[in-house]
């Protein structure tokens, strides 16, 4: 006879966190992604996060999935169900489970866990696979599919949805469909025949995601580069940006091959290092092709000399920086927003760069395409600064859109006819007084338009000069250009929520956590106004928002509150107004963390204010 439970089991529909603990290199990732995709297909907001080691095989790896019918898709914290497939990390994985939660483990090797306050689900996954598959590789691989099958019964995931995903996934290798379905059924049937089901945590179709897609920011940015007309990508492999260059290549192979000749209308070169990667992209841009490189923090450090050259010689360039944990090699597989200053002021001397901050995959697509227009318009490097969390994880995102009637803006480039009309040409003549001068591509005109591009000080005709006043004028013109940039880059998104609100400034992948925090704070009678910064240089809206608030929390995922420093430095804002709210463990920031920090300080603020007023 069963003893009565001494705890209350968690009961929840479409609102929970499940964590898969696996050994990396065992094929668990695709099974876990299948699980998340099935929930997405059932129309329930879902946010999968891959928490992986910097390693190929044998170390613990986790896959955390938050399901939230309300659409809160930031990291939540806490684990309601754990699927523990890695004895190496059992103790940590089992400790994390909330009281009343569930543990599913491979009971081929039975264990006694020191938790009497959780539900333990035993399925002999290894044994089931050993009995059903001959090939040792398949036996290991299909354990993962088998637990997805088990979960489908335990949590009421629609079986047909999983079946469809498998047949789509192996459309090109149909021979693999049958064994995958078999593995799925293996786990599912075991539950149906031997266990109580469903458990307290369940899924139920909602169809809330009609206009949504599920994609990673890197793939979105790679696709954006294809749409933005990039014809040249030079890159060096580095986590977490590699999948961006690969995403570009994947779509270019599909949509950029000339049907008649079979020739490529793009080039992708894996460089020998990041210095060469950025050098090639600069060379291609100099010659009039839209070109980019994708990297992460260490790559930005290596590229810095070249970035100064592109800034000073005024060569368009698009750099994607998918940020990871720093400093130095840091935490290559964890997320941070700690390269804001390194990008804003990259390279020696007085340099400033245009930065775009996407906050989700749709932004990654849009800003990627837009970056090529901006780089051409401004003739300067443009950085698209994302991070590992949005770059490598699949996020629920708005569908992409595109307007065929809008032409690329190639900026101020003189063609043969333009040059014919000119009496003399000076590469760095600011004829329009916006700081932006006219370029020519090599090979345009036999007698006019040639100039000498250089990183040394130069006059308006690109001639070398050691006249300090001439050089100072160039530096001032570049400042004029930067002001022009502030009118062209995406403005901040601002949400005002009533009087006497405090402000929150945020950017990038902190967005879901901030939006959730705002709702929670409201229930505590704390109203917050939001400003999502989407670019640098800052435009007037940014300064206005700051001027209208006496206390603003700057939420960011780095130690030094780098965006706050940038705002203070660029706008002369006093340190008192901008309050750092930082998180830098390498895990994505959580709404609860923001709520705690803000409410703690708001309570202090209000009690001080009351004392003063009395």
């Amino acid at each position: 006879m069963l003893e009565p439970k001494s705890f209350q089991s968690i009961e929840s529909v479409n609102d929970f966190v499940i964590k898969f603990a696996n050994v990396n290199g065992t094929g668990s990732a695709s099974a876990n992604q299948m699980f998340a995709k099935a929930i997405f297909r059932m129309g329930i907001p879902v946010s999968p996060k891959n928490i992986f080691p910097s390693n190929i095989q044998g170390l613990p790896t986790w896959f955390e999935v938050r399901v939230s019918e309300k659409g809160y898709l930031g990291q939540r914290g806490g684990v309601d169900i754990a699927v523990a497939m890695n004895p190496q990390s059992y103790s940590k994985d089992i400790d994390e489970i909330s009281e009343g939660g569930y543990l599913l483990y491979d009971s081929t090797w039975k264990r006694n866990f020191n938790r009497s306050d959780i539900n333990i689900i035993e399925i002999p996954l290894t044994q089931l696979c050993v009995d059903s598959f001959k090939n040792p590789k398949q036996r290991a691989l299909f354990k993962n599919i088998a637990y997805v099958g088990a979960l489908s019964a335990l949590m009421e995931i629609e079986y047909e949805v999983l079946e469809t995903i498998i047949s789509e996934q192996f459309a090109n290798k149909p021979a693999l469909i049958e064994p995958n379905i078999k593995a799925l059924n293996l786990g599912r049937d075991y539950v149906l025949d031997n266990l109580d089901y469903p458990i307290g945590i369940k899924l139920s179709r909602r169809n809330l995601l009609e206009n949504k897609i599920l994609i990673s920011g890197n793939e979105a940015a790679g696709l954006g580069a294809v749409y933005g007309g990039a014809t040249f990508c030079s890159w060096y492999p580095i986590t977490p940006s590699t999948s961006l260059a690969e995403g570009y290549e994947k779509y270019a192979k599909k949509y950029r091959v000339d049907e008649r000749s079979g020739k490529n209308l793009y080039a992708s070169v894996q460089a020998e290092d990041e210095l060469a990667a950025v050098g090639m992209a600069i060379g291609a841009n100099w010659n009039g092709a839209r070109a980019f490189t994708a990297t992460s923090g260490p790559g930005i450090s290596l590229m810095s000399e070249f970035l100064g050259l592109a800034y000073f010689a005024e060569i368009p360039l698009v750099v994607f920086n998918v940020q990871r944990g720093g400093p130095s090699t840091g935490m290559p597989t964890r997320t941070q927003q700690s390269d804001v200053l390194a990008c804003a002021y990259a390279s020696h001397g007085d340099t400033k760069h245009v930065l775009l901050f996407p906050a989700d995959p749709k932004d990654c697509f849009d800003f990627s395409a837009k970056a090529f227009d901006l780089a051409d318009q401004l003739q300067t490097p443009v950085f698209v600064v994302s991070d590992l969390d949005m770059g490598m994880n699949d996020w629920v995102s708005e569908k992409f859109d595109w307007d065929d009637s809008i032409a690329y803006n190639r900026g101020k480039v003189l063609n043969y006819e333009d040059l014919e009309k000119l009496e003399s040409y000076g590469r760095y003549l600011d004829s329009d007084n916006d700081g932006i001068c006219y370029r020519t591509y090599p090979g345009t005109h036999p007698e006019k338009g040639a100039y000498f591009t250089r990183g040394t000080s130069h006059d308006e005709y690109a001639r070398y000069t050691e006249d300090g006043n001439v050089n100072a004028e160039t530096l001032m013109r570049l400042m004029r250009k930067f002001r022009t940039a502030s009118e062209l880059v995406p403005e901040p998104l601002i949400e005002i929520n009533g009087e006497d609100s405090c402000g929150i400034i945020f950017y990038g992948s902190s967005k879901p956590a901030v939006l959730e925090a705002k709702d929670i704070l409201k229930t505590k009678n704390i109203n917050v106004d939001l400003m999502q910064i989407r670019s640098f240089p800052f435009n007037l809206d940014v300064w206005e928002f700051i001027a209208n608030h006496d206390r603003i929390y700057v939420v960011e995922q780095n130690r030094d509150s780098q965006m706050r420093t940038l705002i203070m430095a660029e706008g002369g804002i006093s340190a008192e107004v901008l309050r750092p709210l930082v998180h830098f463990t390498g895990d994505p920031i959580e709404a609860a963390y923001i709520v705690n920090k803000v409410s703690e300080r708001e309570v202090n603020y209000k009690s001080h204010k009351n004392i003063k007023e009395r």
């Binding site: 949504k212 897609i213 599920l214 294809v226 749409y227 007309g229 014809t231 040249f232 030079s234 779509y251 000339d258 020739k263 490529n264 209308l265 793009y266 080039a267 070169v269 020998e272 210095l275 060469a276 950025v278 050098g279 090639m280 992209a281 600069i282 060379g283 291609a284 100099w286 010659n287 009039g288 092709a289 000399e305 070249f306 050259l309 569908k399 992409f400 859109d401 595109w402 307007d403 065929d404 032409a407 690329y408 591509y441 090599p442 090979g443 345009t444 005109h445 036999p446 007698e447 040639a450 100039y451 000498f452 591009t453 250089r454 990183g455 040394t456 001639r463 070398y464 000069t465 050691e466």
Partner: protein, 350 residues
Amino acid sequence: MSFIKPINHHPRLEKNKLGLTRRDYEGAISTLCAGCGHDSISACIIEACFQLNIEAYKVAKLSGIGCSSKAPAYFLNQSHGFNSVHGRMPSVATGANCANGDLLYLGISGDGDSASIGIGQFIHAIRRQINMVYFVENNGTYGLTKGQFSATNDLESKNKYGEDNLFKPIDLASMAIQLGASYVARSFSGDRDQLIPLIKGAIQHKGFALLDIISPCVTFNNHDSSTKSYDYIRNHNEAVGKTDFVPLGEEITTSYKSGSSVEVNLHDGSKIALEKVNSKFDPTNPGNSLNYIREKSEEGKLLTGLLYFDESSEDLHETLNLTKTPLNQLKQDELCPGEKVLEKINESLS
């Protein structure tokens, strides 16, 4: 500083097929030291381009940093130039070349730029077989910073102040052969007769052409104990033979002794004829070439001339299967898959 030369021409100056004079191929006035080997090389580039009827505006001149890298300002005024950062010209050239393969790419570098700070990029440009002429104006010293040893300086060669060099040299020509460069020549800035045909051959060659040109530094490395001085090179230079460049459609008129001459058919139909001194030397065989260079080096000789060539290799454009239309000339409708395709992509992601 850049000093521009007056453009008045003497009316009876010789003109090439494009109706241009040698003056039309010149650049700004050189600010290098009087007697610098680099200026002689610039003059040979001007002569080679004049003779080949090159349209200067279809040339891109690229360089890194150093005395050599200033040189592109001193020839081909009608060409776009790019003086990049130290040791990184090869990557800039790679990107530029991918963007538009229709231009002629002249990369000008030095021994500091290519054998030290930029050796990685030098190696990989060769490995990728960029279609370009890569000049190393090799003087064994860091001139702009006043005479430090470079990595190509011979072990026994002292600096201007009599100090010993502690390390063996890197031989860029041998290295290039090992890495698969498809046209490798060595020459001397003081030997116009040898250098001009080698430059012409390199320009017409499709693929990576290295010209390692010993170019004495009159200020810091032209003393008696230097092995890169004018005197030393004149006394130790041993050419593999006499090189002639034969333009497309012209006959080889010189008669060579049988067995001693080699003809190199270049990509555009022109030829290089090489009358060899040693009949055992085979410039189409990399192993043979490397041994011969080494043998001569052990005898204390500097082997010059066309050291190796391979006309069959493919360049980066072919390797990457690039379209014939330069990437920088593709139109938006060729580049952007458009709204309808995006709808399909959206579908596949939902």
